[in-house]
């Protein structure tokens, strides 16, 4: 479903990504790990259209999406969340979801541009179902700024789901979550994969990787140094030395 072919990205003289290739299939949760500065976030930026790669291609559903701007990438069904929380704090929880849903699905409909909203935006059934799914129904009318950090991460996942994506890229989703929220996270993500949504999970927490992923890619200094199962990863010499130095 998602294929990166020999993606190379340089910043000045620095090779942030060096001929990186990876693939994610429908219904699969694929892990992407690596030490800080390995190039994980850069790779996500290239996949979701924030950066154009120096060379190489990104294919999604067999189509070349290399260099498309972010809003077009997400409209094709490839959504993402960010490493640091990026909810819209002034908007309500349900507006955060509903606006993303409208923007990514039918951005140019007349109703979306100047339609009268009867009642608050986001009281529709779809938005309700998404909030239910990420466990934020009770907080729907509150401004997103009042959420806890972990709740904001969940809201971001809800916002990514709003466009009914085929693939979601999650950038360190459990960072800053407490244990209870972390457990809840697995319960949100695994059913998604069971429904056929592909997930690329960037994560530091190896327990989350072990719990969710069948396949892992390890990135170090811009290169993929390992791909395989999580259990093979922890015994792999190159991976161990990359982490321990």
């Amino acid at each position: 479903m998602l294929v990166c072919q020999d993606v190379t990205k340089t910043f000045g003289g620095l090779r942030a990504l060096d001929r990186v290739s990876l693939d994610v299939e429908a219904g699969e949760i694929v892990g992407l790990v690596g030490p800080n500065g390995a190039g994980k976030s850069t790779l996500l930026g290239v996949i979701s259209g924030n950066y154009a790669p120096h060379s190489g291609r990104v294919l999604f559903d067999g189509q070349d999406i290399t260099g498309l701007p972010p809003h077009q990438v997400v409209r094709r069904g490839l959504a993402r969340t960010f490493q640091r929380s990026r909810v819209w704090p002034s908007l309500s929880v349900r507006e955060n979801v509903a606006l993303a849903s409208r923007a990514s699905r039918d951005p140019l409909s007349r109703r979306n541009i100047l339609g009268v909203n009867r009642g608050p935006i986001g009281t529709d059934a779809r938005t309700g179902a998404i909030l239910q799914r990420v466990g934020l129904s009770d907080l729907a009318p509150l401004p997103a700024r009042v959420l806890s950090y972990g709740q904001k991460r969940l809201l971001e996942i809800g916002r990514a789901l709003a466009g009914e994506p085929e693939l979601i890229v999650l950038d360190e989703p459990t960072a800053g979550m407490n244990d209870r929220e972390r457990a809840g996270f697995g319960e949100v993500v695994r059913p998604l994969a069971a429904e056929g949504v592909a997930i690329l999970l960037v994560e530091h927490a190896l327990d989350v990787i072990h719990e969710c992923c069948a396949r892992v890619f390890v990135l170090d200094f811009g290169k993929i140094i390992f791909s395989g199962s999580p259990s093979a990863m922890v015994t792999n010499e190159r991976v161990v030395s990359a982490y321990l130095g």
Partner: protein, 322 residues
């Protein structure tokens, strides 16, 4: 409150009320681009000038009726804003401020130097007053113009209410809160910014048309960059990104100096103190702060700001003498 004015008021009060109405229209437009979308445009005064000059020239030189001139001038203001916006909208923050500031300066120079069209620093005179049917608004020029301006303001307020509660308006807020997240959620950030700029220019254009046909004399200095800065003041004082904030801000910046006539020499210090005080003590502006207090206490009705605070204004179209 503004609406009942002509019944009892003196000429001077009606004059101030009309200038306040023009300022409300102007500030509402600026709030769309600044308060809602988070883009600081310092070209608003120039967009107002585009409206004022186009409408004046269309009525003076082509003899068009007021309504047609109004419509075409708004189109002109939007078109000019897109000419400024399309190449520069991807720059953000300080750079957008510089681009729009430069445009203001260029526009002012064009008004001064394209003498065949604009009559240069002499400005345009004998701009026709709108032909308002006497049977509707009475025969008094100033009073009938007041009714015209007041109805225009109501239409503008209704339009902005509609925009602010629509998906479009909420998307402006998403853009202001986090542009990267907006793009990642599928919003076309560039298009949203241009729409916000275009709408703000349309409002500024309407205010320029009203100004020209009310004063019936316009000159380049009425549309210098300080007019744009007044828009910033109105919106910050009143409360950015709120429905009533720009209205309150326009009232304070425009009408209050008239009320403070007796303290003429203290105007500027008062004015500066007010702005600094608001930025430090209630950065959300008067209406914004009242809303916050209201949400906390659930006692104060939001949006009903007590406009009669304190302050004074610089020389502007909204405070000029007649």
């Amino acid at each position: 409150m503004l609406l009942g004015v002509p019944v009892w008021a003196t000429e001077q009060v009606i004059h101030t009320a009309i200038l306040t109405i023009i300022a409300v229209v102007f500030a509402k437009g600026f709030d769309l681009v600044f308060g809602y979308s988070g883009q600081l445009s310092l070209a608003q005064g120039a967009f107002m000038g585009v409206g004022a000059y186009s409408s004046s020239l269309l009525t003076l030189k082509l003899g068009l009726p007021f309504s047609a001139a109004l419509l075409l001038s708004v189109v002109a203001a939007i078109a000019i804003s897109l000419v400024v916006g399309i190449p520069s909208i991807q720059v953000t923050g300080h750079y957008l401020i510089l681009v729009t500031l430069s445009f203001s300066v260029i526009f002012h120079q064009v008004l001064l130097n394209w003498v065949e069209l604009t009559n240069g620093p002499m400005g345009l005179t004998n701009i026709p007053a709108p032909a308002v049917p006497a049977s509707v608004f009475g025969t008094d020029d100033r009073r009938s113009f007041y009714w015209l301006a007041a109805s225009t303001m109501i239409v503008v307020l209704l339009c902005s209410r509609r925009i602010e509660t629509s998906t479009l308006g909420r998307s402006f807020i998403a853009l202001r809160d986090d542009e990267i997240a907006a793009a990642a959620a599928g919003m076309n950030v560039r298009a949203l910014k241009l729409i916000a700029l275009g709408l703000s220019a349309a409002f500024a254009g309407v205010s320029g048309v009203l100004f020209a046909h009310y004063m019936r004399v316009i000159e380049p200095s009425s549309f210098e960059v300080y007019v744009s800065i007044e828009a910033v003041l109105m919106v910050i004082i009143g409360g950015r990104g709120t429905f009533w904030g720009p209205v309150v801000g326009a009232l304070i910046v425009t009408a209050l100096p008239e009320m403070l006539r007796d303290f003429a020499i203290y105007r500027m210090p008062l004015y500066g103190a007010l702005v600094v005080g608001i930025v430090i003590f209630c950065p959300a502006g008067i209406v914004g702060t009242l809303q916050q207090v209201g949400r906390r206490a659930a006692r104060v009705a939001p949006g009903r700001a007590d406009a009669a605070a304190q302050g004074a204004a610089a020389r502007t179209p909204f405070t000029s003498e007649s």
